[in-house]
C-alpha cells in the first residue's frame, strides 16, 4: 500500500465509490441479461410445446 499521506481519505473514498459504481453496473447488466435470457428460453419452450 503506498503512503497516501494527508489525502488518504479522499483517494480511498474515490477508489472505493468508483469500484462500487463500476461493479454495480456490471453485475446489474449481467444479472438482468441472465434473467431475460432464461425467461425467453422458458417462453420459447412453452410455445414449442
Amino acid at each position: 500500500m503506498p503512503d497516501l499521506g494527508a489525502y488518504a481519505g479522499p483517494v480511498l473514498l474515490a477508489y472505493g465509490a468508483s469500484l462500487v459504481l463500476l461493479g454495480g453496473v456490471v453485475i446489474w447488466s449481467v444479472v438482468r441479461n441472465a434473467r431475460v435470457k432464461a425467461e425467453l428460453a422458458r417462453q420459447e419452450r412453452h410455445i414449442d410445446g
Binding site: 499521506g5 479522499p10 473514498l13 474515490a14 468508483s18 463500476l22 454495480g24 441479461n33 435470457k37 420459447e44
Partner: protein, 242 residues
C-alpha cells in the same frame, strides 16, 4: 458488405457475442493494469500530493460520460433516418452506463476538488454542464420507462438525445468557452505540450482504453438483453392474442 446488415437483430446477436467477449477481456486487463500501475507505481504530484491518483478514475469516467451521450446521439439519428430498431435499443442500452460514468466523474471530481479547491462543489461551467448532463441521462431513462409504445418511446428519447447533446458538447468544451471557473483545462490533448507528465500519462491512457472497452462490452450486453426482452414481449403478446 453493408454495415446495415448488423441492424438485423439475428445478425447483431451472432456478431456481437464474440466481440463482447474480447471487449470484456481487454476491459479487465486495461482497467486492472492501469489502476494498479497508477495507484501503486506512480509518484505523488508536487502540488496535489496523492490526490493525483484520482485522475485514473476521474478522466476516463468523464471521457465516457460525454462519449456515451454522443454514441446515443448517433444511434438516435440512425433510428430517425433508417428506423433500425437495434440502433434505438443500443441507445437505450447505453444510457445507464453513461449515467454511471457521469455520476462517477461528478463524485470523484467532488472528492478531488475538496482538498484542492477547498470546496466539494462550485457552479463552474464544466461542473454545472456535467450535472445537467446527468439530469438528462436520468430523464432519458425515465422517458423510456414512461412510454409504453416502443416506437413512440424511441422517437421521444431520440429527440431528447439530440437536445442533450448540447450539454454533452458543452461539458467537453466549457473550459474553452469560459475562462472563469475552477476546473482546469484538458489533461490530455492532441498537442503533446498540454498533456500531463509521462509518468501519469501512460497508466492514464491504459485506464482510458479500459473504460472504452468496458463501455463497448456493457452496451453490447445490454443491447442483447433489450433485443431478447423485445422478443420475449412479442411472444407473450402473441400468446395472449391466441
Amino acid at each position: 458488405m453493408s454495415l446495415w446488415k448488423y441492424a438485423n437483430p439475428a445478425e447483431f446477436m451472432r456478431v456481437s457475442a464474440p466481440v463482447m467477449s474480447v471487449a470484456w477481456v481487454l476491459a479487465g486487463l486495461c482497467i486492472f493494469g492501469g489502476l494498479i500501475w497508477g495507484f501503486f507505481f506512480t509518484p505523488d504530484d508536487y502540488k496535489q500530493g496523492s490526490t493525483v491518483k484520482i485522475i485514473y478514475l476521474h478522466v476516463p469516467s468523464a471521457l465516457m460520460a460525454i462519449n456515451a451521450w454522443i454514441m446515443m446521439l448517433v444511434a438516435s439519428l440512425i433510428w430517425f433516418i433508417r428506423r433500425h430498431h437495434v440502433s434505438a435499443l443500443a441507445a437505450k442500452a447505453a444510457a445507464p452506463v453513461g449515467a454511471v460514468m457521469t455520476l462517477m466523474a461528478l463524485f470523484t471530481g467532488a472528492v478531488w476538488g475538496q482538498p484542492m479547491w477547498g470546496t466539494w462543489w462550485e457552479w463552474d461551467p464544466r461542473l454545472t454542464s456535467f450535472l445537467i448532463l446527468f439530469v438528462f441521462y436520468l430523464g432519458y431513462m425515465a422517458l423510456w420507462e414512461a412510454v409504453e409504445d416502443v416506437e413512440k418511446a424511441a422517437d421521444l428519447t431520440a429527440m431528447l438525445a439530440m437536445v442533450g447533446s448540447v450539454f454533452a458538447l458543452l461539458s467537453r468544451y466549457a473550459v474553452l468557452f469560459w475562462n472563469q471557473g475552477l476546473h482546469q483545462g484538458a489533461s490530455l490533448s492532441l498537442d503533446a505540450e498540454e498533456n500531463v507528465a509521462d509518468v501519469f500519462y501512460y497508466p492514464l491512457i491504459l485506464t482510458m482504453a479500459g473504460f472504452v472497452f468496458l463501455f463497448i462490452a456493457l452496451v453490447l450486453l445490454r443491447t442483447r438483453t433489450e433485443i431478447r426482452a423485445r422478443r420475449l414481449a412479442a411472444l407473450q403478446a402473441r400468446e395472449v392474442m391466441a
